[in-house]
Symmetry: C2
Subunit: 273 residues, 2 copies
């Protein structure tokens, strides 16, 4: 069993120093509670609701900037895996919505969001690489960022590549749903997990930002898609979800009897793309 935490924080727009401090405090608290893999929200250190590309660029930082450096040091010091979203200024001069995976004593591994939600396409360059599958002491983890979870073709890629856990920083804007229903994003994460028999930990955020409210929908599901920990959607309080997850269970793709989630795919019939 591996203890996993999702720190559902409230980034303050533009306050990079303050947001780094908030994330550091939350990671320390989660590690003290025994978490070995700790997930932070998307764009944790800048906030999300950029007015335009120039504003995002003014707040972007390279992989060796203050956000990822702080998380790398924490990973080393606390011997935990940290996953967090940040606004990346790439070596190529472009601005990306990225996630960093910090494994103790290893260089940062970065994934750039490929599927951009709504106005993000006016702000960021889309990534064009599949999510990395990162070896850790606890198993193989792969980062996906928010809207990427809504494309089953994309979730398949790290799952087929052997991920035991998908770690997903997110900022889920609060969309309408019928009374009594879970957020659609939560339902789709449950499906993503069970279809691939892979555990998933999503870290959403709280805190109204420039008029946008968030779902507060962080959750940790097992390889059958059953929730091990779920945030209270009705609360906008900062909170940290913690769950103990059997990551090795993700290596069995057997569903029941002779059925196997991967072996039963009819790749002979699926079109490319």
């Amino acid at each position: 069993m591996t203890r996993i935490a999702c720190c559902q924080l409230a980034p303050v727009f533009g306050d990079v120093d303050g947001n780094v401090a908030r994330s550091v405090e939350a990671v320390r608290d989660a590690a003290a509670r025994g978490a070995r893999i700790i997930v932070l929200p998307e764009l944790m250190t800048t906030g999300y609701v950029f007015a335009d590309a120039d504003e995002a660029r003014s707040l972007a930082e390279p992989v060796d900037g203050p956000s990822v450096t702080a998380w790398r040091r924490l990973a080393d010091e606390l011997d935990v895996v940290v996953v967090g979203g940040f606004c990346e200024l790439g070596d190529d001069g472009r601005v990306y919505n990225s996630a960093a995976v910090l494994v103790p004593q290893k260089p940062a591994v970065v994934h750039r969001k490929t599927h951009l939600w709504d106005r993000e396409r006016l702000v960021f360059t889309a990534g064009d690489a599949a999510p990395p599958v990162v070896e850790t002491l606890h198993g193989r983890i792969a980062p996906l960022i928010c809207y990427e979870l809504e494309f089953p073709e994309w979730v398949r890629i790290p799952a087929l590549a052997g991920a035991d856990l998908i770690v997903a920083p997110g900022n889920w804007p609060d969309l309408p749903r019928p009374d009594g229903e879970r957020p659609g994003e939560v339902i789709r994460v449950q499906a993503d997990a069970s279809i691939n028999r892979v555990a998933i930990a999503v870290c959403d955020r709280v805190g109204t930002e420039r008029g946008v409210d968030w779902t507060s929908g962080s959750l940790i599901v097992d390889a059958d898609g059953w929730p091990l920990a779920m945030a209270d959607y009705t609360s906008s309080e900062v909170t940290t979800l913690v769950a103990d997850v059997d990551l090795l269970d993700s290596r069995t793709k057997k569903l029941a009897g002779l059925s196997d989630a991967f072996a039963d795919r009819r790749t002979d019939l699926y079109p490319g793309g």
Copy 2:
């Protein structure tokens, strides 16, 4: 709005004549309630739990056999679309787990299940064709059969081909789930719908058969994946679900703002297969 019905019946194993009669009565009742598209369970007229391939063959019938003929006549008489599962003896001499779509005054359209659950692979030949998208007065409908709904690559095919409604005969064996959770199959259907913005109507069955119990999980969801009608999982009574569905809503793939469920796919990055 189009009224859709799912007749969650209790086929009796091997009693083809009786099962045809049960399905005819249920279709008549649903049509009398105003349904224009009526979905029946998988393998409605034979039952599901075949001991082996020989037993299935002994009960299989061609497309012009009694089951599909009865449904075709009903479709013509009542001016309704009927979709039902049957054990097909193919022109090629093979036995398939098939669904027939009967549009009034048209020849039967047949889909053969491609993804075979558990021991079905010992009984049936797997189909190797994508589900047809069938034009009706009410919109374009595409049949999928049960376990096919669990493969998002496969659900994408009729959705991208323009289906407004996926009609799915099913026999969902009752699998364990945590207290308070919907069946995993239901969650995955909700995800299938919202990911593709396509309405889905699944007709499950009831009635213990050779020791197998069923989920009783029939449901009709809109293009956002929200349930319009759901069966009571705690009941094993025969029942017919009815819901009025705006099938034209499936033609808008817009999710919010600039986001579009289809246009936002990164087909440049998805591998074939």
